[in-house]
Amino acid sequence: MPYGEALELQRELVERRRAGDVPDLLLLLQHPHVITVGVKRETGHAHILAAPDVLAARGVEVFDAGRGGDVTYHGPGQIVGYPILDLRPDRCDVHRYVRDLEDVMIRVCADYGVQAVRAPGMTGAWVPTPRGPEKVGAIGVRVSRWITSHGFAFNVTADLEYFRLIVPCGIGDRGVASLAGLTGRALAIPEAEDAFVRHFCDVFDREPAR
């Protein structure tokens, strides 16, 4: 789904969740190549390394996303997860929410035999490799009166070349990885999506209802 549409959809869903019209939701999407920047716009845009012409030539859009976090890239082969949850009454702790999202991603990695960990001070799911720790999943969240939007991005088969257009999440000296790259296997997105649904429900204590 084009990123612009997803932004609109999320805004709508947040309001409907707030009104109680919809239950807690987890959207799992893929986007065409796009670079998104968080609320710290200047820092985020400064971390886009490619000139606008170069981006336009590659067909990469740029959006201000209105979420926390620095700059990141989304594209085919990357599962972008948008949990629209009401964190009340007992989950009103944004740090805990972020840790929980990391937990979900770490569990999905485990399903594929990849050991991912948290890195203190650097949010996301990291995998230790001979090249150093590489990030396989990134997080950028927005909370509006305890209703969440935006969320996480997980590289399954994403083309990591595109990450060179930016300084991912503002972290210049660490690499980016994909599950396919780490396992050396060809992977299917639907399978990964199922894993996400399962682990998400486990961590967040919810029942999937489709």
Partner: protein, 433 residues
């Protein structure tokens, strides 16, 4: 009664928050639960609702500032349109209370000093160091008063305020207007001119306002950032290009056969790459208190485009022969103009060469391309009279200007580097293909 707005605690172990954006401005009306501001903690952006209804009367914590949880970040006032939008005081404020309050609740006039110690302090102290005259104006008056001041072209600073803390009330400004001497257009315009700090043209001037392209904005930001970051110093050397001119002639055909054009820039890039190996601090970067010496010499060559400026990079220039540099430069320049550069080709530069001489300048004093610490500007090369072996001679001459960051590079070091470059260029060995 005014309501304080507190920095919320977004989690158990969270002790502070950073304000990213004020959704409402001072003077705006707010409803209870309406989004008021956004805060940011690592990776999370949270929209915070207003604790009450009224008018946002003051903002204590600016965008970008971080404060402890439960600190007062703003105050929501009574919603009085009159000049009396003041925070709680032990005695009722002087002057009439407005009755146009949008707040449906009727608030008791007494205060809770214990709950609002900071508000009392604020009333007599101005918000710390207002960043601009604009903010200072706003701090001394309510929106209504400011509007009256604008309509009558009056500088609020000029009016004695009788409100709390020197605030200019409606009473004050109306009194001022009644009693001020008849002002002719000139006197009225003078304060207005002083008071418009952020307008670069006035209505009625013949201007054409065009929004900046994204590239232009980025260049603008980078240039200002670079000036603020580095301690820019420039040193200028004159170079006798006689020998290079001869070499170019001698080897033109051979290079053309090899599919390359032997240019002055290529010679300069070679001389620079070699000199950087001898003076590596000019190829380094500053990271906090550390110097980061970079092993690779990645020379960026600034290319002027119709629509802006771009700096493609020759990676590991120290490994390339003169022929290799010629090819790389020509290739990067032509692909830059055709918008065919790959993203990694504009990244990772460690030193930049720019060519103001191409437009006729004797020399330029370029701005450093962050995070590098030096940039070489090549001035125009033209035949000039000079002295060779104590006799007058005519040679192609040009200036090279090195911009360098004095935080890391001292003049003597920069000049040693430039001396080496000059020596090399003036005594270039054979460059056969």
């Amino acid at each position: 009664m005014p309501t304080p707005v507190l920095m919320p605690q977004m989690g158990e172990s969270i002790a502070e928050g950073t304000i990213v954006r004020w959704i409402k401005k001072v003077g705006d009306p707010v409803e209870r639960d309406e989004p008021l501001f956004e805060i940011s903690t690592d990776k999370v952006d949270a929209e915070i609702p207003s604790p009450g209804a009224g008018i946002l009367s003051e903002i204590r914590v600016k965008e970008g500032e971080t404060v402890a949880v439960n600190s007062v970040v703003a105050t929501i006032g009574e919603g009085v349109q009159d000049g009396e939008a003041v925070p709680a005081q032990p005695a009722p404020p002087a002057g009439p209370q407005g009755d146009g309050s949008p707040s449906p609740k009727s608030r008791p006039a007494e205060t809770k000093p214990a709950a609002r110690p900071a508000a009392g302090v604020e009333a007599s102290a101005r918000p710390a160091a207002p960043a601009s005259k604009e903010e200072a104006r706003r701090a001394r008056s309510s929106p209504l008063v400011r509007r009256i001041a604008r309509e009558h072209d009056v500088d609020i600073e000029a009016i004695q305020g009788s409100g709390i803390g020197g605030r200019v009330t409606k009473h004050d400004i109306l009194g001022y207007l009644e009693h001020r001497p008849a002002v002719d257009g000139e006197a009225a315009r003078a304060p207005a001119a002083q008071r418009a700090p952020d307008v670069t043209f006035r209505p009625g001037e013949s201007v054409s306002v065009v929004p900046m392209t994204v590239m232009r904005k980025k260049i603008a930001e980078h240039m200002v950032l670079s000036r603020r970051t580095s301690a820019h110093v420039h040193t200028v050397f004159e170079v006798n290009y006689g020998r290079l001119a001869k070499l170019r002639e001698e080897h033109r055909a051979a290079y053309e056969q090899a599919g390359a054009k032997l240019t002055y820039v290529a010679f300069i890039a070679k001389a620079v790459a070699d000199a950087l190996q001898a003076v590596p601090v000019l190829n380094a970067s500053i990271d906090g208190d550390n110097v980061v010496y970079r092993k690779d010499i990645n020379i960026g060559i600034a290319v002027a485009l119709d629509w802006g400026l771009i700096v493609p990079v020759i990676p590991r220039a120290e490994e390339k022969s003169l022929l290799g540099l010629c090819r790389a430069i020509a290739d990067l320049a032509s692909r830059a103009r055709a918008k065919q550069l790959k993203p990694e080709e504009v990244q990772g530069g460690t030193f930049t060469i720019t060519n103001p001489g191409g437009f006729g300048a004797q020399f330029g004093l370029p701005i450093i391309n962050q995070p590098q610490v030096a940039i070489l500007g090549v001035g125009s090369i033209e035949k000039r009279v000079t002295v060779v072996d104590d006799a007058i001679a005519v040679r192609p001459m040009g200036y090279l200007a090195l911009g360098f960051d004095h935080r890391l590079v001292d003049g003597a070091v920069a000049d040693r580097f430039m001396g080496m470059v000059k020596q090399r260029l003036e005594n270039f060995e054979d460059c056969g293909v």
